[in-house]
């Protein structure tokens, strides 16, 4: 893998980029609409993030914040009639993806950018064996023989920690437990040695102990292969363990970005603050849990100004009118709040 150099960009952001200064995967001011029977929903309203080799970016947000839609746009698997990409760019190693032709995008899938999904039971084809599904990429895209592909599938299953891989390779997805199934899906995504792995809520459907195992597995794999990983989740606990940087999403845009430790120590956006405050802590027994009052905006009718202002405890008059841009802050952080600097200093 290329050597990593850290460089300071104009905005003061510290990023892991390749030798030519280009991040592995970059999403640039992406805007996506969905045309529903209730109107046009603005699902992505200017999303920016990037990830470099060997780093994990966690994309954090509630349901409906647009995290999966962004990932689907990167992979090119958005259902395009109801969805419409209105502006923005996605770049892989500097190459523009949204304007590339379908065949090129297909080439990139699996081979360079791979994705794993939340529910492995429905994401895997129920009528084919796990070995078949892992091996088919090797057979059709690398020209491997059936025997070699099967042997490699066994290796991959072994690598992700599935016991008795040789026998399990002929099992069907429904014959695995939840955690094992997720491991099988991870094995499948690694078959072609991708550079970037997008994990869309990989542990949400699993119970807590299994969650930890899967997250450890992902961390190990990423470290060994120096892959860039985008971890989409709504679970702050998961993020703290694994991520290098976090991008917090709300109502289709990034409201805060930065190094995970700094962000947890000192959030610079009221939404992030509220999220962190809502985590139940062992030492707060006996006190009331802090929830964020209100609901996220209806995407077909987003109010003017800052999208978070109706629920923000720090909202002031300006917030109702001005839609805050993503301001760069020292230390490679960014926040979309008019009072970000105040928060940073307090």
């Amino acid at each position: 893998m290329s050597t990593r150099t850290t460089t300071q960009t104009d905005a003061g952001a510290v990023t892991d980029r390749g030798p030519d200064g280009v991040p592995l995967l970059e999403v640039d001011d992406l805007h996506v609409e969905f045309h529903t029977r209730d109107g046009v929903a603005t699902v992505l309203n200017g999303v920016n993030y990037h990830v470099g080799a060997g780093e994990t970016l966690a994309v954090l947000g509630e349901s409906g914040s647009g995290k999966s839609v962004t990932a689907n746009t990167v992979m090119g698997i958005l259902p395009v009639p109801p969805a419409r990409i209105t502006s923005g760019a996605v770049r892989y190693r500097g190459e523009e993806l949204l304007t590339a032709d379908d065949e090129r995008r297909r080439e990139l899938r699996g081979e360079h950018i791979a994705m794993i999904f939340q529910d492995a039971l429905s994401a895997l084809n129920p009528v084919f064996t796990v070995g078949f599904q892992i091996g088919e990429q090797l057979r059709t895209r690398r020209g491997m023989s059936r025997r070699d592909a099967r042997a490699r599938a066994v290796e991959l299953l072994d690598m992700v920690g599935i016991p008795g891989a040789k026998q399990r390779v002929t099992s069907f997805p429904h014959e695995f437990s939840g955690g094992m199934r997720q491991r099988a899906m991870i094995a499948m995504s690694l078959a072609l040695d991708p550079d970037v792995l997008i994990a869309d809520e990989p542990t949400t459907a699993l119970d807590v102990t299994v969650q930890a195992q899967i997250m450890d597995l992902l961390a190990d794999i990423q470290r060994e292969r120096e892959m860039g990983m985008i971890l989409i989740t709504h679970d702050l606990g998961v993020v703290a363990e694994v991520a290098d940087r976090i991008a917090v999403m709300y109502a289709g845009r990034i409201v805060e970005q930065g190094d995970v430790h700094q962000l947890f120590a000192k959030p610079c956006h009221p939404y992030t603050e509220a999220l962190l405050a809502s985590i139940p802590r062992l030492d707060s027994k006996g006190t009331q849990l802090q929830a964020i009052s209100g609901l996220p905006p209806t995407l077909t009718r987003i109010p003017p100004g800052c999208p978070f202002h109706p629920r923000c405890p720090r909202a002031r008059d300006e917030c109702r009118e001005i839609d805050p841009p993503l301001l760069a802050l020292p230390g490679g952080r960014a926040s979309a709040c008019l009072f970000a600097e105040e928060l940073a200093q307090s």
Partner: protein, 317 residues
């Protein structure tokens, strides 16, 4: 939060200190229940509107044939036998000199009534048996399912012919008797279908958590069936019923065509088609008009059933 003590009273419970709606002023949203969604969807489908209009017209035809013709459908003048369509008789005359137009109009009532009653029988019997079987489970279920299998194993036309031939003499010439026999036969051979639909829906509903919760709260089986199981299982049965209605109207016509279903003095499209067989080459109008009405009617019901099923299908969004 609502005051739990008021839950037992019949007065509407007012939420004390109702939570203020979020500052984002959203427009009032429509009710989003499945049937509300379905109706909203149905109103907009052109095929549904066409089907509903057609059926409405047919129902008027069936209920008030006198509005459309003043001729007696059973009276025939042999001197006019098999005359083609003309100004006085739009559809011509049949082999006994009876007015084909009048017979077609009056036939509407019989054909639709037979279809509706047959469907009612099938739905009632099948739904009740299926509900009992699905809900009770155990040996009751096995027994009822076996009985249904026995009737299911009889090919429809074959079984119908056997039953109808056997009782043909017994019902003689009475209009009610003949009609009841046909309705009963169709019902007898088709109830296993609704039974199966209802049974599988009841089994699925029985395993739902809300039923277990109701049981845990001590609800009686009857209450559970009425309030929890029935609303959730009736939809597939009703969808089948709308389509079956069309099919049964066609089935009656087929049986009459074979000579074992309805016959004189009953007037139905199937009877007319059956009588028209021998004159196919010389007087095609005897087959054409009742045939056309039959096709249009069955089509209307099938369209209706189709539209209803699509509207109720939450996956079709």
């Amino acid at each position: 939060m609502t005051d739990p003590t008021t839950a037992t009273s019949d007065k509407p419970v007012v939420a004390t200190g109702a939570a203020a709606s979020p500052a984002t002023a959203t427009a009032p949203t429509r009710t989003r229940s499945l049937s509300a969604d379905a109706w909203y969807d149905l109103r907009r489908r052109p095929l549904f509107i066409v089907a509903a209009t057609l059926i409405g017209t047919l129902l008027v035809l069936a209920a008030f044939p006198q509005l459309f013709t003043s001729v007696d459908p059973t009276v025939g003048d042999l001197s006019r036998a098999r005359q083609g369509p003309s100004a006085e008789a739009w559809f011509g005359y049949d082999q006994l000199g009876r007015d084909v137009y009048a017979r077609t109009i009056y036939g509407t009532r019989v054909s639709i009534v037979v279809g509706v009653l047959a469907t009612t029988v099938v739905v009632l019997v099948g739904a009740v048996v299926g509900l009992v079987a699905g809900f009770a489970g155990g040996w009751v279920d096995s027994l009822l399912a076996r009985i249904a299998d026995v009737f299911f194993g009889v090919p429809f036309i074959l079984g119908a012919i056997v039953v109808l031939s056997t009782f043909r003499l017994a019902v003689g010439q009475s209009v009610i008797g003949i009609s009841a026999l046909v309705i009963g036969t169709i019902g007898l051979l088709s109830w296993p279908i609704t039974m199966r639909i209802m049974r599988s829906a009841a089994i699925a509903a029985r395993n739902q958590d809300y039923v277990k919760a109701a049981r845990a709260l001590g609800a009686s089986p009857l209450r559970i069936i009425r309030r929890h199981i029935l609303p959730n299982t009736i939809a597939p049965v009703l969808v089948y019923a709308t389509i079956a209605l069309g099919a049964f109207i066609g089935a009656e016509a087929t049986l009459s065509f074979l000579g074992v279903g309805l016959r004189d003095p009953v007037v139905s499209w199937g009877v007319m088609i059956s009588e028209a067989q021998s004159y196919l080459r010389t007087s095609p109008h005897l087959l054409l008009f009742p045939g056309a009405f039959l096709v249009v009617t069955v089509l209307a019901f099938v369209l209706l059933g189709d539209a209803v099923r699509d509207a109720f299908d939450p996956k079709g969004r």
